[in-house]
Amino acid sequence: MKPVGFSTSPNVVLRLPMWRSRLMLFLLFVAFVALVIRAFWIQGPGNGFYEAKAVKGVQREIEMRATRGKILDRNGQLIATSLEAKAVIAYTDNIPANLAPEKITQLAKLLEMSEAEIKKRFADERNQVFLRRQVDPEIAQQIRRLEIPGIGLNNEYRRHYPEGEAMAHVVGFTNVEDRGQEGIELARDKDLAAQPGKRRVVVDRLGRIVNDIAILQFPQDGQDLQLSIDSKIQYIAYNALKSAVEKHRAKAGGAVVLDVRTGEILALANWPSYNPNSRKALTGEQLRNRVLTDTFEPGSTMKPFPVALALEQGKVQPETNMTIGQKLLVGPKPITDTHPYGMLTVSQVIQKSSNIGTAKLALQLEPREMWDLFAAVGFGQAPNIGFPGTVTGRLHPYQKWGQSDQARMSFGYGISTSLFQLARAYTIFARDGELVPTTILRSPDYKPGTRIITAKTAIEMRNMLETVTEQGGTALTARAEGFRVGGKTGTSHKVEGKGYASNKYRAIFVGLAPISAPRIVVAVMVDEPSVGGYFGGQVAAPVFSTIVSETLRSLNVSPDMNERTVVQAPELQPTTSTLQKVALKQ
């Protein structure tokens, strides 16, 4: 048989229709074109999706931290500061079910929580729960060392208050979100608050930052704030108040110290207080800043004002004799004194705190003029010191006063004020007749005041106030060693329901020192003293005495009484020889 070549094989030479191969070729061509178009699309206009995906993989927006401003006292001592802390978070999905029980025990111990509580949190439906916030960094480090999967630590800040309860009502506190809740922290939250920033970065596979792209928002630390409070004086005032409240088993108390020259609040203390560093089971009683938010009838501490007005108008002189008598019949109930007096001078009316004498003087005054004075010294208006919760007190318009109202108001009934308002009003006697604008922020310059009464009247009243602390006065206990002091006691019945409680009192003392050149006004209030007397002179005046002597010493004010000036040195720095001479003289 003749061999048949491949090309001549009858099977192969079977001719296929030409269009089939053409079609194949065309289809292949179309497929390639589609691929090219797709490739072009992905790299060109349609790349947004992939780009976003890539960016998500390598770019992150991270927070830039900023710290809340510090609060300092007038000498630059810390009152509040923010320190780094950690929030412990459980990512519940990542926590292994077979976690060793001793790890939970250790964790519970570190977090000061019960194991049951931790297990409950782990079982939470949400996949991210806070176990505890504001944990100390050292404890957080120990938690990290436990290496429990699914436990994360987040950065945050915790506020610390080194002065603790002595300063609690002034500074207040912040919540876990670092926002002010009370006191200065609340009042000046805007200035103190930090603005965290944001930046966009490139991260590598391990999450390390390898490049900066942009800062989206610059972080801004909060501003530091300097208060007028002196932590030393604050401590003195708080301690003196606290021991008096405890000694007399009182319900509460308040004390305030004002710098007469600058109008700065040097101390503002309240009792009961709380520790702002650990605020568990806080009650409203503890939180109340009584000095600013509680109003009460000031009782006899009001007397200097109508008496000063009578002096100012020339109706009487300090030595003018007045007939006092057993009682004064004005209004529904006669006005009486604790001791009956026959005759008293105007000065003695203040010294012995005679209700009848004051009422008789007040009744010589026009109601409008008395109201004008009360309003001018700030009664019935909230003091403007930039602090939350300051109250106005109550001062009825004079058109509504009857004779009895006017008489009783002159010794502090039917009018109400906060302790702070009372202290501020007394600056008119300390500042030779000027009312000083007050502030809680440091501003150590001498402030011009508003003239209310003449310097002559103010000095006369100051001398009368000094007699209160001298033999025959109501507050010998207010005396401060080395300093001439003056002030006025007050003991007011507390209002209960519609009338006055017969056995509940408020002991008050407001005074100034040193008399020769007043530097501070101090007001003290003790609420419901129940043991060891209830008169202002027994309860509040000793607190005044302690605060005054320690404060003036801390302010380097030289004593104006019984001082033993031994040497008139030509210069401030005494030489050794003068010192020796002094020693010899002794």
């Binding site: 931290r65 500061t81 002595a166 490049n211 003195i236 060693e481 080395g482 033993r564 401030l572």
Partner: protein, 88 residues
């Protein structure tokens, strides 16, 4: 012509390599900058903590306690104090 192409190629290679090294340098510098910034933050925090600690140690309550109980000091009183007056 050929030489020009060759030298351009060499130049291109040099440029490409220097780009790589400078990129590397940037990364390195960036990392150390980040590290320094972290260090700054840490030191700042440390300073705040120390300031707080110092404040805790200089609290009036503590000073009073130490002065009274450990050093056995007592407050000054005007009757055993000498006052020097500035003047002629």
């Amino acid at each position: 012509m050929n030489r020009a192409t060759l030298s351009l190629l060499v130049l291109l290679l040099i440029c490409a390599l220097s780009l790589v090294t400078s990129q590397q340098k940037t990364r390195k510098l960036f990392v150390s900058l980040e590290r320094a910034q972290a260090q700054e933050r840490k030191l700042n925090q440390e300073w705040l903590r120390l300031e707080f600690e110092q404040r805790n140690l200089s609290k009036s309550a503590r000073i009073r306690d130490v002065a009274r109980n450990q050093l056995r000091m007592s407050p000054i009183t005007p009757d055993r104090t000498l006052y020097f007056k500035e003047g002629l």
